[in-house]
């Protein structure tokens, strides 16, 4: 059974039918938003059952769309939090990937701007490495990007998509060793992205992120995970009721090969490790439970089958 990420949009009336259906089919709901009279579900569903969900939700005016970014956590690396980069383009891009189902976090560097003076500290490096992918938003000059990129990517282990002012070909030429994705002609600008060509550029960024994530998914599929992260999400919610009291928008953030649990590590790490999955297998046996560099959260990294010899 292959699970594919989709977004369901529909009216609030009888939406629990759809929720039950997805759960019965073996799918997982990653995020649920209720906005006025509308429900948006970001979920993983079996590929062969999408048509069935469409059929059943048709009388409820529900629509199911592919959203390849569901279940990913993306770091939007902005060079600073100054007016020069915010709200455009950093927020525009962070918000756009959110629309397609990703959970995006903006990581702003303490000493990101400039050429010679740019730097990346250990905390920033570790925070970026906790994500599935990092989208670097650089400036307009190829000289500066070429000069500072080696510093800013030091120690980054996740795939990088680089956005910058110069053309894509120029970016590909000046970055060595190459990063995973490039989007040209998106440097610093000080206007809202609302024109057709600007929106097309945002779509190009999404396409590049999707392509890189697809590649990462294939890599993971070669040595499958011991347990599906979205499944852990449901189990943690059932077995650690304290998570229901967390006010953060996504108390449990699903990643491609892990999960961020927004509970203090010191108090809850042991409880998380003891979450039972099935047949007495506990979470601690199939995943590493580590302290996150983001506040005092917990990060769960699911181990591949080859390391645990368990698949649940």
């Amino acid at each position: 059974m292959t699970l594919v990420p989709v977004t369901y949009k529909g009216g609030i009336f009888q939406h629990d039918i759809v929720v039950d259906l997805i759960e019965d089919l073996g799918g997982y709901i990653v995020q649920k938003h209720i906005i006025a009279q509308e429900v948006v579900l970001q979920c993983f569903v079996p590929r062969e059952d999408i048509e069935l969900i469409r059929q059943i939700s048709r009388p409820l005016f529900g629509e199911v769309t592919d959203s390849p970014l569901v279940g990913t956590e993306i770091a939007i690396v902005s060079m600073s939090l100054e007016i020069h980069h915010l709200p455009h383009p950093s927020c525009d891009i962070a918000e756009y990937v959110r629309r397609l189902g990703a959970k995006s976090n903006m990581v702003s560097l303490a000493r990101g701007p400039g050429k010679r003076i740019a730097g990346l500290n250990d905390e920033e490096r570790d925070v970026i490495n906790e994500h599935d992918i990092a989208v670097y938003l650089m400036g307009n000059f190829e000289t500066c990007i070429e000069y500072k990129m080696p510093t800013l990517r030091r120690g980054i282990e996740v795939p990088i998509v680089l956005c910058g002012g110069p053309d894509k070909e120029v970016l590909e030429r000046i970055i060595s060793p190459p990063v995973d994705g490039y989007v040209g002609n998106v440097g610093r600008f000080m206007r809202r992205t609302k024109e057709a060509d600007e929106l097309a550029k945002l779509d190009e960024i999404i396409a590049e992120i999707t392509r890189v994530l697809e590649k990462k998914r294939e890599e993971i599929a070669k040595d499958p995970l011991s347990v599906y992260p979205a499944r852990l999400m449901g189990l943690i919610r059932e077995q650690i009721p304290e998570i229901l009291h967390v006010t953060s928008p996504t108390p449990l953030t699903v990643q491609m090969a892990g999960l961020r649990v927004k509970l203090p590590y010191d108090t809850f790490a042991e409880k998380v490790k003891k979450v039972t999955i099935e047949d007495g297998i506990m979470l601690g046996e199939v995943a590493e439970v580590l302290p996150s560099r983001m506040r005092d959260y917990i990060i769960v990294r699911v181990l591949p089958f080859s390391e645990t010899n368990i698949a649940v």
């Binding site: 020069h84 400039g114 050429k115 010679r116 307009n140 000289t143 500066c144 600008f189 000080m190 206007r191």
Partner: protein, 194 residues
């Protein structure tokens, strides 16, 4: 853009110059500086790195008077002011209160102010100066130029006089002969540095 007589961004990287033209344009529009700046020449060399902005300002002596944004309609014992732009409402009320006293000034809604039995003719009221935009002009200009300049360029040398300005920024110590570069850029516009 038409309002600026000379507007040029010079940069060894052609695409960079194009982006910075756009940025400068957006920032100046946002801060309402288009009608104030007469000439603007920006030079950026990311290799050095250095950012230079030089330019001249238009003479603006347009002080805002009540007659500029309000219709003054005299009636028997009262004068009604119909406001077309709210921007200067607060400073205008403050001045009217000081001059005539709060009991004679009434504001029934957002766009109307009524003056009762005030010792002034409608013409005199139209002539009352409520604001001088040139006061905040330099503040806005400095802020705008800092927005346009690349953020990492934190070592700055700025000179703003009544009619001319020069703004130099870099992330390294500014070269001693930076004055020559500034003078060259002024020459391109047919001006001399302040």
């Amino acid at each position: 853009m038409q309002a600026i007589e000379h507007f040029e961004v010079e940069c060894p990287e052609a695409l960079g110059a194009e982006y910075y033209t756009q940025i400068a344009n957006d920032v100046l529009l946002d801060h309402n500086l288009m009608k104030v700046i007469d000439k603007l020449h920006i030079y950026i060399d990311p290799k050095v790195p250095v950012f230079v902005a030089v330019g001249t300002l238009k003479k603006i002596s347009t002080r805002v008077r009540i007659g500029d944004f309000a219709n003054v309609n005299p009636m028997e014992t009262k004068i009604t002011l119909v406001i077309s732009e709210e921007t200067y409402m607060a400073p205008m009320l403050k001045i009217l209160w000081e001059r005539f006293g709060k009991e004679k000034v009434e504001q029934p809604d957002r766009f109307t102010v009524i003056l009762y039995n005030v010792p002034a003719t409608p013409q005199e009221i139209e002539e009352i100066v409520v604001a001088d935009p040139s006061e905040s002009l330099h503040k806005d200009l400095i802020y705008a130029l800092r927005c346009i300049a690349p953020e990492g360029f934190r070592l700055r040398s700025e000179v703003f006089t009544g009619t001319k300005f020069k703004f130099v920024a870099s992330e390294n110590t500014l070269a001693e002969d930076i004055g020559t570069l500034v003078a060259d850029k002024f020459k391109l516009m047919g001006e001399v540095p302040p």
